[in-house]
């Protein structure tokens, strides 16, 4: 990507106390792209965002915007805006004043300012709240005001730090689709921090998975889900069974492995993979890719149902196989549903067309 909007080049951050916040991050964000930063708590997501916004100076590396080095620019000189996790609305101003704040600093005429603020409020669905005090708004409304305040400045790049984490499930889902819609409508590039993987998967064009101050993988949601580049990514994205296995042989496009003594799963493997028979690998199997089977064959295994939890559309089983435990999702309409009781010994297999990532390590 040469025409990238934002380019982070070897960004490192060591905090005064000596703590390592970021350890040489390289990242590119395209024009109009929606990129999510995903990772466990403390991995450096917020730090990355703060360096892009200019609140924090990196210890090493450069920040380029549209090819121009902006590392040395102060926050107020960057054409980048931020939606803060706690919204950071100015409590002494009402909704409209909050939204006009950025415009008023650009010496925009007040009529024009008002028009823009009104437009922005309509965009986020709060046209009647212009004169409301921000303290009287609910969480979801505040979040939208924060968004409008940032958007009205027409930034080239919008940064969002866990914008939805304070909302409850149904509002959250609603706001996710609102965000996505807005981003498409405006064509602005969004970089959003989240630690919720479902959110990241459903909303982003690309996701950067971070761990301990490094970027583990940057890819589209589907690639990340199907071909995690590391054990960490595999376990972080969705629920995954990570199983040690030994590669046995290749059958056309399908590979056969041996797990434990009696299970020889066969699977499609995405991408190229050349393995020597006998190599030890880790298989990442999704719970929904393990299905109940009726017959007993080499590619099935017998497991005991240790627990069942109801997940609405499906039941999640904890299945004990040998020493290990596997998560298995059974659709509620499965014909075999009546067999599924705690303690039952059942036969399972990998879904024939399942594509499972294989991690060699």
């Amino acid at each position: 990507m040469t025409g990238a909007l934002l380019k982070l080049d070897g960004i490192g951050k060591i905090f005064p106390g000596g703590g390592i916040g970021l350890d040489g991050i390289g990242l590119e964000v395209g024009h109009g792209e929606f990129l999510s930063l995903l990772g466990p708590s403390g991995c450096g997501k917020t730090t990355t965002l703060r360096i892009i916004a200019g609140f924090e100076a990196p210890t090493s590396g450069r920040v380029l915007l549209d090819g121009e080095d902006i590392t040395a620019r102060r926050a107020f000189e960057r054409p980048v805006n931020t939606v803060f996790q706690d919204y950071a609305l100015f409590p002494n101003m009402n909704v409209q004043e909050n939204i006009e704040f950025g415009l008023s600093l650009r010496r925009m005429a007040s009529v024009e300012r008002e028009r823009k603020a009104k437009q922005a409020l309509e965009l986020v669905g709060l046209p009647d709240k212009a004169k409301a005090r921000v303290t009287s708004l609910s969480g979801g409304q505040r979040q939208r005001v924060a968004l409008a305040r940032a958007l009205v400045c027409e930034p080239q790049l919008l940064l969002l730090d866990e914008p939805l984490s304070a909302l409850d499930a149904s509002l959250r889902e609603h706001m996710q689709s609102e965000l996505k819609r807005l981003q498409k409508e405006l064509g602005t590039a969004f970089v959003m921090v989240t630690h919720d993987q479902t959110e990241a998967l459903s909303i982003s064009d690309r996701i950067a998975v971070m761990n301990k101050g490094r970027i583990e993988q940057v890819a589209t949601p589907a690639t990340l889900y199907d071909r995690p580049a590391s054990r960490f990514v595999a376990s972080f994205i969705g629920t995954t069974n990570l199983i040690s296995a030994i590669f046995q042989n290749r059958e056309d496009t399908r590979l056969r492995f041996a797990v434990g003594s009696d299970w020889h799963p066969v699977m499609n493997v995405p991408g190229e993979l050349s393995l020597m028979p006998g190599t030890e690998v880790t298989l990442a199997m999704r719970p929904e890719d393990i299905v109940m089977s009726e017959k007993n064959s080499p590619d099935t295994f017998m497991g005991r149902v240790a627990s069942i939890t109801f997940h609405g559309r499906s039941l999640r089983l904890q299945v004990r196989y040998g020493d290990s435990e596997l998560w298995v999702d059974v659709p509620r309409d499965d014909r075999a549903r009546s067999h599924v009781v705690e303690g039952a010994e059942l036969s399972f297999r990998l879904r024939p067309d399942a594509m499972c990532p294989v991690l060699v390590s």
Binding site: T82, F90, N92, S136
Partner: protein, 290 residues
Amino acid sequence: MIPARTVVPDVRSLVFRCLMLLPGAVMGLGLIVFSLGLVVFLAFRHNDGSVLGAGWTWSNFQTILTDPLYAQVALRSVMIAGTATAATVLAAYPVAYCIALRGGRWRSLLLFLVTLPFWTSYLLRVFAWKIVLAYNGVFNSVLVGSGILHAPSLAFLNTPAAVVVTLAHAYAPFAILPIYTALEGLPRSLLEAASDLGARPWTTFRRVVLPASVPGVLTASMVVFIPTLGDYVTPALVGGPRSIMIGSLIQMQFGRANDWPFGAALAVAVMLVVAGGMVLGRKLSVGRQG
């Protein structure tokens, strides 16, 4: 519908509650209300030289309202106390700001440093200021030594300015602490948000920090203004005749003028004005908050 039974506190709880209310009730209803009652009572009495005065009258208040002197002294007191308050709060603000927002790990040390001077006796501090401001004092010596003045100036000591400076010094911690508290609670993200939206540091200060610190500034102003208004020691020691304030006048009615009812009436008048100002101030600040 089943009628509710409220949760009834048992005997132990009742005893506990009474015990918790006891010290406050003794102090509050015993001593404070007694003092307050006495001053209000006296304010409406004739002076006959006795402790409680004689007969009921409005005349004390009539005198206060009709003799222009009292309005004049009150105005002067408000000017001096107001200037002192403004000076104290204005001078203290940047310090509180710096400690709260830029203090970092020096915070507690700085807070300690600004409260330390408090440990010396107030009278000693006033005397120290006399030494600084005196004719042959530190200030004059520096000015003459550096050639700014040819001869020591008399313009420092025994002027209202000296009162203001001394008070600004004496009440520094009272101003710094409330402002510090207000600013310290200011979320960092508000400053960053302003900067993010394109505000330069000064704009951020003016439009975000300053409004947020208003409650702290109000508290600080109150705890500086009220005691300085009633102060009579500082004006007497460093102020000269032009700094005599309402506090001295009240004090003297109880002392050499031997007119307690009039002193009480003056005190009640001042208390009413201050309380009125406070209520007004609160109304205004609440109004601003919505």
